[in-house]
Symmetry: C2
Subunit: 608 residues, 2 copies
Amino acid sequence: MCGIVGYIGPKQAQNILLEGLRKLEYRGYDSAGLAVYQNGKLDVQKTKGPLKALEQRLSHHPLSGELGIGHTRWATHGKPSDENSHPHVDQSQEFSVVHNGIIENYIELKEKLQAKGYPFTSETDTEVIAHLLADLWDGDLVSTVRKAVKQMEGAYALAIASVKEPDKLVAVRLASPLIVGVGEGENFIASDIPAILEHTRNVYVLEDGEMAVITRDGVSLFTTDGAPVNREQMRVTWDAVTAEKAGYDHFMLKEIFEQPKAIRDTLAGRIKDGVVDLAQDISFTEEDLKGIDKIHFVACGTAYHAGLMGKSVVEKLVRIPVEVDVASEYRYRDPIITPSTLVVVVSQSGETADTLAALREAKKAGAKVLGITNVVGSSVSREADQVLMTWAGPEIAVASTKAYTSQLIAIYLFSLHLARVRGSLDAAELKAYTTALLNLPEQAQTILEEADAIRPFAEGIAKHDNLFFIGRGLDYAVVMEGSLKLKEISYIHSEAYAAGELKHGTLALIEDDIPVIALATQKAVFEKMVSNIIEVKARGAHVLGIGLQGDTELGKSVDETLTIPETLPLLTPVLAVIPLQLLSYYASVARGLNVDKPRNLAKSVTVE
Amino acid sequence: MCGIVGYIGPKQAQNILLEGLRKLEYRGYDSAGLAVYQNGKLDVQKTKGPLKALEQRLSHHPLSGELGIGHTRWATHGKPSDENSHPHVDQSQEFSVVHNGIIENYIELKEKLQAKGYPFTSETDTEVIAHLLADLWDGDLVSTVRKAVKQMEGAYALAIASVKEPDKLVAVRLASPLIVGVGEGENFIASDIPAILEHTRNVYVLEDGEMAVITRDGVSLFTTDGAPVNREQMRVTWDAVTAEKAGYDHFMLKEIFEQPKAIRDTLAGRIKDGVVDLAQDISFTEEDLKGIDKIHFVACGTAYHAGLMGKSVVEKLVRIPVEVDVASEYRYRDPIITPSTLVVVVSQSGETADTLAALREAKKAGAKVLGITNVVGSSVSREADQVLMTWAGPEIAVASTKAYTSQLIAIYLFSLHLARVRGSLDAAELKAYTTALLNLPEQAQTILEEADAIRPFAEGIAKHDNLFFIGRGLDYAVVMEGSLKLKEISYIHSEAYAAGELKHGTLALIEDDIPVIALATQKAVFEKMVSNIIEVKARGAHVLGIGLQGDTELGKSVDETLTIPETLPLLTPVLAVIPLQLLSYYASVARGLNVDKPRNLAKSVTVE
């Protein structure tokens, strides 16, 4: 996820672009840049760091001109650096491009272009596009862009400016959002509405496979095949605050709804022919991977819950023993580490202080370290021996949602990669898992489409100050995350229990009407789970059961039921957590609390 | 712990003895027996099973006579069986003895007596005494008993009847309670007051190293060296219910106060010359022990918390990787078990259904299984490959206290045994640990002597419905137990957190005046712990800090402070848990709840 802005009109582009980027900082903030056209030349200023760093640079080297494109970056391919910042240009600086999304076949394209002598200065996939445009130049910008797009696979949004036709900007969208803002004698391109809301409320929303050509006075829409598109202008009625959240009331809800995309992006390009291949992500050798005899997952908070899932997944698929530790404990407990120990640290921000400290301890003790993080260029991504990125995009709400599900996906991918290399699963099993993985985004979408159904349950539990979650096996790890979510944003004292353990003490707290949320998605322990549900029902608990679609048994033992689509048991947590996230969200809303910024908490805990 | 009764007087002894045993069933209930004298003969009836089984047997074979001794057993040496039941007699049935406690040198004595041709019919240490009396018989019962006692090491209470002098009973006490009840024309012996309360309220309480000779009309007290003892008669004012609890208001408080003894008994005979030797308890060979490459602790509830401590202790002392699982999860999660995996199951009752099921799964999967249990003859003790007993005696209160600390002691002993065999600690280190272990009972006693100081804190927290415990490292495992204790009997929703993990979510629940109990006994993480205390203080929490005596820092950061004596860091949990047990106890009392039988809970969870 990155932010894109483009401007063409009578005013100085620099300030309009900068102002637009400022409104998009929530989409990316590790580097930024502008390209502005004047007098036959495209001038580029770009730099690593927050937007402020770019502003400072521009104060010394202002860009003059009335056409330009701008970008604020959330690193994917290539760490945050001056070179990797957008816009990217070809070697003669005739074509400039800003880009959001991923060009999946960029390595192949890059190699072809390099063979032809095009020099690359960055690690990005984006730079390919600038060289490709130069290579394909046929005397017509729109036609050239169309040819380039034909060669590019992936999901992306582009804004392009060229000295060849300095009276226009070209925008292309494939599965990454892009809009055109329509002004008077000036027009705009943006990845998101907030960027242009100060200038116009009239927009065209591009659809997948569409492109726009904008001049000072006009906007034309086509498909990338050249067919004209008739689109009604949309009038934006959102205020600026709503616009930032793409129309959702809170970032958290927006991010919950972004999960199908986050899952899809994290899977993208990593499954080929029914097997997982992470060779492009991590360069542990086959010997390295075969030599691992112990894995430690180390993380904090929500990422720790992803680690708990990691234990089940790795032990099940690869049969390597796994320990899971909260990082603040791990670093001081003198864990038993050998050179054949793999330590997997999980951190959305990649800056979690305890996790980083644990990573360093583990390296010092001789372990191999794999980082799973959402931020390219973060400390975890730099210090781990190998990194497996989640592609969830920036997460703004303090309570993590899409980062968690993406971490689960990364863990599945890594486990299946290991399973393939070590031969612990056969081709049919690998195929079954990868097929089911690829199906998850759509299944997640169906849960989100029924989100409103969860609201009444949430309003019910919002009246209580104490409640319990129960589950067995994988469901237990999921309810731990569900309980944390609820605590974080609703301040309800909830606690998650292994359902079979409740009777060894905590059952004493079950009294009339106390809500118990029971997750029962694991068929292997379903009957035992029902027994535990009956135990709490017998003590007066009001039970919300969450089970699988088609299950006709659970409803008989609980007071209320929600269901999720069925997938392979090991993958179910990705779906099962979504109703719990929504439950927490709506409970927090019902209590009138600050969903996105709960009291006492910070998004990224960079202190110990 | 067993129950002892003796009677001499004008009435039929059988019914008085039976009635007395009924009052002592809380001290033991796995077998029972009587020996009654008549017409130059001692007749014995004894049987495995609860007292009812003995009653049934007596209804067919009544014992007639006006002098006798009785016993209700809590098995220590030898499983519950007819043969192992008391009273024990010599081969000519001239000397009968009932016994509570342990004869530590019984094997040595048994071998000597066997060499002389005395035939043994039971596995007990007690039988030694009967044969020893026969062997040492010098024509005077008191003199013979005195000679026998000189040869017996250990802690015990005895009641003896002999056909040689059928006008008297002899009682001996060494570190196990024993009283003499004074009636009119009849007198009594009992291990505890309830046994005789229907007949008399006038008692002599024997002290260590004292013996009593009682006839119908008189009681004489001596030391075992023969010096006369002048003791004032005590008048018991307790009612029968209080008497059962030895004067404590609840079994739980009684059992908390029994911990120094439970620790001492569990250590007894297992430390020699500065090293732990469990050769008499467990017969794993040195090869077995050297071949272990992974240990799983599996348990439920409080015993699970002992297992958590087991991980720290074993990994620290022996450097074998340890996993800890709640049994209800372990049995279904398909754990990775190899023939070199040792599975340690921990269960006070030895009948916990989930733990037993896990034990069976582990055996089926090829693991060696060590059981740690408090009940000889329990399913765990029978089904585990090897058993390490805790000698805590019967635990009546549902909330476990002395069983937990005894489980910790068993874990230390086993770890030090392993460390010696595997050479992971040197002699000086082993000596340091064993010395510190032997010091724990006395240190525990000093905490109990200040128990009343905890009451005001408990009354403070009893007003709240929610609170948190925090700790790091070993302290974290202790506060998990402290929190469970509080939940079980006070119904306060408390939750224990690794102190460094709080800021990753749960800190949102910290608001003004919420109590936080912070355990800070581990010097290695003391400063980090103080930082976490300051985090919750800053959000308004009211913090009770529990630290080490002599620590002058903790008090500066918390609202109230309690201290415990210092021992080696790894052993501190045994002491640190005691204030938490007392806190829970007094909080429950302050809330007017049923301390010993909390709602919804059973003492031994024999369902899944």
